[in-house]
Homo-oligomer: 393 residues x 4
């Protein structure tokens, strides 16, 4: 069987989920090409060796520029910070490699555009890890809409609400523009823009109004140099420094099919640990999804007799009927967060083998459209005016 030799650049939190995906995919799926975890790439040799050994990568390197040129590599998987995506991806493309890149596609819109252009010219295949498309319930929502189950869409609501960022959290990289590009917007709104575009099959044509707000403007600086992430117990020192990204971004928008929409990303929405979802109301039916109950899709079928209409909670775990479900466990033996990544690894392997993925995977061009909406919302918030998408190129 054909092999796909993967080099993964980056070994942080997403390095962990991707490593798991590449190692699990052949156990639960029968992909047409076998992934080989060839090389992982980090910053410090010692850490990188430990990482590779732990997750089963064959080799390790601290020089990504060399790695992406290795003749035996078929696919470069980019899981580094956003502001390095473009450089690495374009080097890989230049070397003729296929590229799978974490979301959002790039740190800036200009970089994203360059990546799209480079990929187009090089005729390589590109993929962006908007993993939630491959959550079975969301993939099934996409199929229902495509099959006409909700009719003409009139309302879209996207929301990704978290609550981890209270005053106790120090000034980690996620609160600093240089490290993260933006705050909740790039981290969370990116997902729900992609998700609603995917499920509706429509594009956003205008951002009509937007609010960006930073509630906690100063945070304690980190002592100790590195400490990553949201981890409990992370301690800040006495001194404070300014938060330079948004805590929340809300915006109103219009979709190409005539729907009106609202979006909201938040990190201090107390009580919402990971409420990542959408609501869609159409002329024939409606859908609701919340990742905190990721195995369930809520469907309202307005074509049923009125007496028995209501929201139906569909447990999207039935093999044969629900995407990916047949490769995992029996009915209602539920799936978790990591499975979306394994499902995506499978679909990337299908695509590389020239087959159709289970549901469409965003390539750089598609992810660039999401990036344009992110940009339009930032402009709308900053300039306090409606921003047509045609203005953002």
């Amino acid at each position: 069987m054909r092999e796909i030799k993967v080099a993964m650049i980056g070994e942080g939190f997403m390095g962990r989920t991707h490593s798991n995906a590449w190692s699990q995919v052949s156990k639960f799926f029968k992909p047409p090409a076998r992934p080989v975890m060839h090389t992982s790439c980090g910053r410090r040799a010692e850490d990188s060796k430990a990482f590779a050994s732990h997750w089963g990568w064959g080799r390790t390197s601290t020089n990504w520029a060399d790695v992406v040129k290795l003749p035996e590599i078929d696919l470069v998987d980019v899981v580094t910070p956003n502001n390095t995506h473009a450089e690495i991806a374009m080097a890989a493309i230049a070397a003729g490699k296929h590229v799978a890149c974490e979301k959002p596609i790039a740190g800036t819109l200009a970089e994203a555009r360059q990546m799209v252009e480079a990929a187009r010219k090089a005729q390589v295949k590109t993929f962006v890890w908007y993993n939630y498309r491959r959550c079975p319930a969301i993939a099934f929502a996409h199929k229902l809409v495509k099959d006409g189950a909700v009719g003409t869409i009139r309302h879209v609501r996207g929301f990704y609400l978290q609550d981890w960022a209270d005053e106790s959290i120090p000034l980690i990289w996620r609160f600093q523009k240089e490290g993260s590009g933006s705050g909740s917007h790039g981290d969370l709104n990116a997902h729900i823009i992609d998700m609603t575009r995917f499920v509706t099959g429509e594009e956003i044509t205008e951002v009509t109004g937007a609010i960006a707000e930073t509630f906690i403007k100063q945070r304690k600086r980190m002592t100790g140099a590195t400490a990553g992430g949201i981890a409990a117990g992370v301690q800040g020192g006495g001194e404070t420094g300014p938060v330079t990204v948004d805590d929340t971004v809300l915006f109103l928008a219009r979709f190409s099919g005539g729907a009106v929409a609202s979006f909201e990303a938040a990190r201090q929405a107390t009580g919402n640990q990971n409420r990542n979802g959408f609501e869609i109301n159409g002329s024939k039916g409606a859908l609701k999804f919340d990742f905190e109950r990721m195995n369930e899709l809520q469907f309202y079928d307005a074509t049923r007799p009125r007496a028995v209409q209501g929201w139906t909670t569909i447990m999207c775990t039935h093999g044969g009927d629900h995407p990916y479900a047949g490769n995992w466990w029996p009915d209602a033996h539920v799936l978790g967060y990591e499975h979306g990544f394994v499902n995506q690894a499978y679909d990337i392997l299908l695509a590389l083998a020239g087959e159709e993925p289970t549901v469409p995977i965003p390539d750089f061009e598609d992810a660039y459209k999401t990036q344009r909406v992110l940009e339009a919302a930032l402009v709308a918030a900053a300039e306090r005016r409606p921003v047509p998408l045609s203005e953002i190129e």
Copy 2:
């Protein structure tokens, strides 16, 4: 015991709920003044007599202008179409009567201002029937916020989503500006603006962006002159006419305490029959409410040990602990829509007797603030720009 003689002007749908409230209040509460259903006023003598007899009004009239001047009347209850509120209310005020008026306070902002001014000069008591304040769960939410249970409020979401207005509904008065003033905005957003102002105890300071949309632009004209409401079986003829009000209005806003907010009213949000509610996230806790489960309040107490934090579903039916509950039935012997009106009748009687109502009742001045937000959102949608509330007087 002192009596409060009520004259009710208007005998439509709201005439029904108010009549029920006035007739039930003394059965379940011990108000300090006994309400007397003195006179009801309609357009056609025959209908009015039938109405009065059915609901227990002592007399009937087709001349509201005379009725509001009757010396024996203490309180005029106005339940006519919005565009007639001002004329009737001001006549009643001129006659020295206290006035209870259905929401929204008036058809136009100018009228509302005049009503506020007239009431202030005449020193009469005024009340607006934003009945949802008196739903026990909402009144309890107000108390929790006042007691500091959610801390500093950062996020507010108001939504009132219905789905009755599909293509099959003909061109009833609700779709025509002259009859209704506005569409979903005045009908539904009015409620959630009042409700979030009430629960948060804060004012909206800016409408940052807004969308108003009419999805179904033409509807079949009614044959038969009168037919009211949403009633199933209402039939339109072959000819169509233009819908002159909004189907949906969404807007983003800021609250005086620093919170960001979104609001949405809709009539074609398929699957949502009467989803009238809010979400509030603060630094110490959070609240969620949906009228479709009106007896329940969702409370997240972020001051509890992290291990047992979660959304708590409070059944707001416990006498002694939950407002109004002790006057009705035992725990979890749940209440319905009409009870909010009975509770309000009780609170009006308390206020007229000089006592404190269970929770604050909006007077004309308070309802005028809600009206200003409605107006600001319309301006923001029409002129496609942020509108500070200070601009709307």
Copy 3:
């Protein structure tokens, strides 16, 4: 229009709900006969006058034996303690009156049997207030089953769980056999036996096993003679006395159509304030109901395509489609506890006028069947053996 003159015997908690039902029914329904609240009957003249005046009864009496013989009375409504039902009902029957009796039909099975016999001979109409049959969601469940929506029934679960009876509650009448007949069993299991018989359309043929348990065996005796009910603040003295009824009764049973069943009544099921409901699983579908969300019926339609199967939450408030709903408020303007009683008053008036009630009302014969199941469960618990219903006559 024909009048039905009602005499109500008993003025306690149920006197209140029935009074409300008789006074509201003509406001929301158009019954074929007009109910007249003729006489209410209590123990003490002064209390009785206050009660009658409060609720709108025309006259009052402390002598029920005389009242039930008054020529002008058409219907005697019995809401006294269970152990007095038989005497009053049979006196009314002897006087040729129709009788509506609170549940359970009688204090003992022998009394119930006599009542059935008396009613049969006298050819009067009898009704038992199993009010939950007239909760719209339950009435709709009955119709769905009758129409074949769940197919052959295999599993029935009935539960009525409350949690008011912790150690703080003193030795009120509900804990004493002479006052109440039994504990949770007659109070709560009676409802769910009737409800599951009604919804399934089947009879229970055997109680296979049962447990009756009293967790709190001694309670503080009441000081003050009277104090009724569960009321918070009721204080017991220092001395204790024995609880002589069950706190909980569970039993397993078989239905005539082959289903297996479980039932449970409880008063210390912490967290369940009024969880009165059932689950039914059949070959084609399933139903779930919980009174704490009384407007909702859960329906699983196993004949739908597998991909979209799931539990559908039906809001049973749609006029035309859901029983009783059209007489109340618009969609999802929800109903509460008391409405079941008003709906029953309407159905009794229909029946007295010779028309079909909305859904079947239990007469004495039907309620006697429920009583036999209650008895069989007590025997099964006491004798620790299966008890076929054929044994209980």
Copy 4:
């Protein structure tokens, strides 16, 4: 680091989940001993090689009797059909190996007793894979009860309801006594007996009544010899054969601390795909769990002020606070079915290294207690009488 060399006997559905567990455990946990997937054992050499290669077992064999004696093996993991557990486990024990055995411990009570005795004499460590104990929400429930959060337990309800076994499913091994021992009872009740024993920390002292029923008494025989499981599309031939196991078993029971209990296992409980859970009501609080929402635990804290009491939905994914959660993903990045097995693999490694597992693991002696309850329920159903556990040895 010390290694634990595992030999797994059996390569069916559970072989898959265990293989996944052994391969994932070192990636997400830091066990004190490293598991080595040494040998897997199946019936046919070719299948076994494919299985081992797929899941990463080092060697393969078709002779389990030899494998369990290999000097280098530390732990024998038994995942064969129930009626072979005893023979294999006892051979492994005789060879001085530690044994981890799938549930239920054995095909018969006599076998289970022998296994307990053998393990005791040999002083090896034994484990039974009641994997749900290691679902974080259930492990957390155990801790809450242990810490006194529910007080004295009065009510226990265990239920494991599935709905896969309609008429379309042919006569697979699960419907035949020789293959499966029992039907839903051993398959499903076994889990909820263990789960409620684990969470309450109490023992069942009596089965008071029981019903066992087979609804579908004849099923189509399989054509093709093998075809496994529940798989959709499995086709039976024209001929039918008798089902020799139960479809459902319900029983009532008493716990050692005074609680009354009900249990139910079902395979035709339409609408319940995998509703595996419990409810526990105590004097201070209550708990509810349903595996279909396995990340959530419902907790009612009756010691909170009455006004804010309610069911709290705890998302059991918080590292540090909820068992196992810190080894997986961030808050509300939810877990699935397979993670319970990985968690158990970790705890087995802890135990083998002489450390305390996260929560207690059932050994053979403990699992034998669950087996005795299963047996008591079968006797109670067959002999139609209460069965004290003291009778079952």
